[in-house]
Amino acid sequence: MIVIKGVPASPGIAIGRAYVLENEEIVISRVDIPKQQIRVEVKRFKLALEATHRDLDATETKVLKMLGKEHARLIDTHRLILRDPLITKDVPKRIQDEKVNAEFALSEALEVVNQAFEKMHDEFFRERRHDLFDVGKRLLSHLLKTEKKTLSDVKRPSILVSRNLLPSDTLNLKENNILGFVTDLGGKTSHTAILAQSMEIPAVVGLSDASHRIKAGDEVILDGDQGLVIIHPSPEAVVKYEKVRERSIQEEEVLEKLRGVPASTADGKRFKMAVNLDTLEELKTTLLLKPDGVGLFRTEYLFLNRTTAPSEEEQTEAYSKVAEAMSPHPLVIRTADIGGDRLSQLGLEGPKNEANPFMGLRGIRLFLRHSELLKTQFRAILRATLQGRVSVLLPMVSSLRELQSARRIFFQAQQELLAEGVPLPKKTPVGIMVEIPSAAILLDHFLEEADYVSIGTNDLIQYTLAVDRINEEVAHLYDPYHPAVLRLLHGIVETTHKHGKKVTVCGEMTSDPKAVPLLIGLGVDVLSVTPRMYLRVKQILRSLRFSDAQAMVAKALKQSDSSEIRKLVGEL
């Protein structure tokens, strides 16, 4: 049994025999063309262009039928590439100037573009070169008159293994016995990955040499959730994954029915279940879950892949959109938790290389250093209050002074907007992330000035246990069930409730089905869950009795060892 790790491109599990698509490296040789043949050669190229246009028309019809208008835009892009002067003008010119065959002229022209794309640092741009290859390959196959190897030869349900998969190939998978696919190349943002997700075909990409390691007919398990590929799995692994797959199919059906059903425990205790939102693009699918609000809108995405900070207008627009869509449910917007390395990219002065960025200039520390960024974000958040129930959340607060400074800037932003005649609500709540132990320890003081508390479990655990989860040497020490973590969480909930305020939990722990009983038993008010796990967590919550969970936590708090705590949680 061999397990290889790649990039999880599309979720789901597939088990089956490998169908290895031969790496069809088309060898193109240079053929010198006599002068009188040039016109024929150019004509041949034009015919191939026309044939490829007809291909695209056929593919478009298919995409429209299968996936809808949104995805048909991809074909527009391909058509535009096909009409691109780099192809329509450059190739005939090369045929004429260099007196070569059309295939060679085309591959030369493509190579120039390919090299420019390969040099790009931005993954998003770099991935777009696959669209060019897709069009280029179609053109070549018409020139060479080779029938493109089709997947219709796949006789029994299989897992497709190949060096790379073009977006247009991806479209043909479902009707061709393909359970899932595995590729050496590709990233999460490639068109192929996006198509696989919308077609609900499990996929793992970026495996570097899987197409060499996996032989045709090998038994393979593809885990699109974890990004794992298991070659020659042990019988136990097959049984395990088959169970997981069956269960997930049945569960999907049960879970669907939980949309819009209240998040109440079996004994009637009502919790609020919100979602975490990472980008505006996720809003549409998130709304389908009918959550009790957005418990954490991460605004980091607005600051990525750009050379200037986002303007107040741009931010206002984004926040207003979410606030309006969520209304009357609340929306919690966290000011950007970006690291110092972002600053120079945004054209600001910042540290070059921090030895330990997790403990460095990030979150509220960075925004207090560059208070113009903070004020702009506050103004945008305040302007969004016109569209719904909005509150502000401050990340990485470690001392009371930081909270006070941020509140002062928040107050200034409010005063400015009121002076400009913007009608603001009387009060916009300001909360803090409790993710640094000092904030948890001094919480009673913080609560004099914070309106609510949100626990970021990932950072809280990593700072409490001094474990960098990315460091393989110590990653096993990262333990959400550590007694110290439980005691800390318990203290946070108790203290906050004593002050008559609410606690949200928004870290990964809320999305871990096993950890949910702990959070319920601790009596947190809001669980903010990643959309993918939302219905699953709701299902667990509804199956639990609050009184049982409370009793379990009371027992767990007395334990000195995490395995005992795990056991207690598991028994519930």
Partner: protein, 92 residues
């Protein structure tokens, strides 16, 4: 010939879709369209009627592009580009 500088305001830069819109706008006019980007002291010039060309610029959000037009309908074309940038490429 006329020239004008534009700032890229689309979120992910001038990626496939905005680049396509740019080319469509240019292709509706007769004039020649060239686009220049300065990056780390280098100058990159591409044909503004070529999607691949535009994408090769890898113009990120916030970067400045110089659009140069030459032809009988250059004024009209420039107005069309101004509108396209003002509409932020119809990005949602």
């Amino acid at each position: 010939m006329i020239e004008k500088e534009f700032k890229v305001t689309t979120k992910l830069g001038l990626h496939a879709r905005p680049a396509s819109l740019f080319v469509q706008t240019g292709s509706r006019h007769l004039c020649k369209v060239t686009v220049t980007k300065h990056h780390n002291g280098e100058e990159m010039v591409v044909n503004g009627k070529s999607v691949m060309g535009l994408m090769m610029l890898a113009a990120a959000h916030g970067e400045t592009l110089k659009v140069a037009l030459e032809g009988p309908d250059e004024d009209e074309a420039m107005r069309a580009f101004e509108k396209l940038f003002a509409r932020k490429f119809d990005e949602d």
